[in-house]
């Protein structure tokens, strides 16, 4: 017999699990496996497979460049317009994919939730990681496009992972909350596509945030993707950045993540009863 200490679990109504975060760590392998599964099945039975991760944002970049750059003649801070759009498109697509996948994750994994115990947080978190794979592929394409324009980034590019992390957390916060509520009220399934489409135009994806009047910039940054997109452009394209805006966005991300985790944990114990 192994000398490992016997784990004791007490099951009671409303009992707050003191081991929750420890459990989450213990189940890290399941987290890896689920993330790997989401990546592995992402493009199964599609003819061109992972190319979809490139085609979708590329076409949007093309259209936005024509509409905002050529027709509306919006300013681009001296950067080629397609690069400006692409640098905004990268974090936005990542955010949108992660948010909508995470929001549906519990319902689409209902069979798991009803049959096996594990910290449920793993499921939406794993989908966010899977969305990261798409993002990484787009990032490689972005690098190619920048090379085409002979546009080299400087040291600032080293700070890019920081903004990727913010985008990830920005999607996880509302994603957790929505997926938990979605278990009970499937109405939210219809809210997400609308939210994502709406957000694409509200966030500075097709244009530079500098077109917003200066007095409104801090209010505008309440949309956390404003800080992330500005950060991406600053890292990749050396456009100016207002760190106060990034601060506001970070604060919003932190608050929404806190609310998301709290709501998720509050509803977590009833998932199996409702799914």
């Amino acid at each position: 017999m192994s000398a490992a200490p016997v784990t004791e679990v007490i099951l009671e109504r409303g009992r707050v699990d003191r081991n929750y975060w420890l459990d989450l760590w213990r189940y890290r392998e399941l987290f890896q496996v689920l993330a790997w599964r989401d990546v592995a099945i992402r493009y199964k039975q599609t003819a061109i497979g992972v190319a979809w991760a490139v085609i979708r944002p590329a076409l949007t970049v093309l259209i936005f460049t024509i509409v905002f750059g050529r027709i509306a003649h919006l300013p681009s801070n001296g950067v080629p317009y397609p690069l400006l759009v692409f640098a905004g498109m990268l974090p936005w697509t990542f955010f949108a994919t992660a948010l909508s996948d995470a929001s549906n994750s519990l319902v689409s994994n209902a069979n798991l939730v009803g049959k096996v115990y594990f910290p449920r947080l793993i499921v939406p978190a794993a989908t966010v990681v899977a969305a990261f794979v798409d993002f990484f592929i787009s990032l490689v394409v972005m690098a190619a496009v920048m090379a085409w324009y002979r546009f080299a980034p400087d040291w600032r590019v080293l700070l890019l992972p920081l903004f990727v992390l913010i985008a990830m957390l920005a999607s996880l916060g509302p994603g957790l909350w929505i997926t938990a509520v979605n278990v009970r009220y499937r109405d939210f399934r219809y809210v997400i596509p609308f939210l994502v489409q709406f957000g694409l135009y509200v966030s500075p994806v097709g244009f530079s945030a500098s077109v917003i009047p200066a007095s409104w910039r801090l209010v505008y940054a309440i949309n956390p993707m404003v800080g992330v997109i500005d950060g991406f452009r600053w890292c990749l394209l050396r456009t100016p950045i207002d760190w106060r805006e990034v601060g506001v966005s970070l604060l919003v991300v932190a608050v929404s993540l806190w609310i998301g985790v709290r709501q998720f944990r509050r509803l977590e114990k009833t998932f199996a009863d409702v799914l």
Binding site: V6, V9, L11, V33, I41, G114, K115, V116, Y117, T270
Partner: protein
Amino acid sequence: MPFEAPVSDVAISVEALGKSYLIGHLAGHASESFREMLVRSARGLGRSALDVLRGRQLVDGDTVEEFWALRDVSFEVRRGEVMGVIGRNGAGKSTLLKILSRITEPSEGRAVIRGRVASLLEVGTGFHPELSGRENIYLNGAILGMTRAEIAARFDEIVAFAEVERFLDTPVKRYSSGMYMRLAFAVAAHLEPEILIVDEVLAVGDLAFQRKCLGKMQDVAQQGRTVIFVSHNLPSVMDLSDRAILLDRGRVALAGASHEVASHFLGSLRTELSAGDISAYRRPYRDAGWVDIQAVCVGGDPLGGAVIQPGETVSIDVELAVHRAVEDGIIVVNILDERLDIVATFMSSDGGYRFSVSPGAHQVHCELGPMPLAPGTYLVSVGAAQAGLRLAWDAVNALPGFRMAGEESLAWLRWPERPGVIFQEGSKWR
């Protein structure tokens, strides 16, 4: 003072456990006007909106009732013990397992579990059809709580047990259902938890594979693991477990040695029959609503008290309520021994009998030829179906049947000392 095991010897202890659900009822409104319906729907919408705002569960229906799926359940399972849980459908068996597996939390009471738990409430949980057999082994193993190192160490064993070597890199959606089940069970069978919680997973696959699974379960039990095991299949409960509890409408009706609990369970089913109600035996069937079996009478005694002499035929009368005109109907009769193993199957089509009848009451009488059965008690299952089993209409399972008369010494020495069911006099020994 009753003897109590030291705490360290108790793997699972359950105290006054209960679980309630909200269920909704539709009030009868067959004759309401369109206007009334609009008012009712609007009211329902208003209530749903309020529930959403309060974060409460949505329940369909006009009135909401609290339903206790499990109430006041207490028991202990010692380390290394195998405990069976039996009871009819809806008695709360699955709810109990879900609570112990931490899938859902109890509404009241508490359970303490000491040791690493693995629960198998389903075979192949999380299998993904697009992934290959190899990938699914890792996926399913991780879901059941194995580490990657553990899976890798047992990978070859799992593959050999499942007999799928050639198809390891084929997506499991191309597997036959048998292969799929074998692979799924193989992963589960190689779990090595301290406490195993199992729900009716043996009810799958072909007979040979079921036997193999049963064998594997026996190995697990003998390795000193603690096992909680739910089943409809009384023989496997008796074979595998030392102790059993019987659940009835969410409460523990009886706890004790597994064969005693199992025979009490059979007895309680019989008592209900004496009240003229066979609904407890009815299984939900896929083509319900055509023909219902109303009553079954064996050897002239509907309570199963008929005594059949060796060499005698057994008469069975079946009363049917036919709701829709049916063609090519047949009656299937299974004879079961006390352990609920089927020992003989008779189909009315074997004797060339089929019925095509219009709605109404209908009776079928049959004489089963003499059966060389050992003395003892036998049960009967009766089904009504369309020839070729294209439609399965109704079935009642394990009704009390008859007693086979015979030499007392033989009857006394029945299972487990004398497990054989077929018995023929006239063997010669020298």
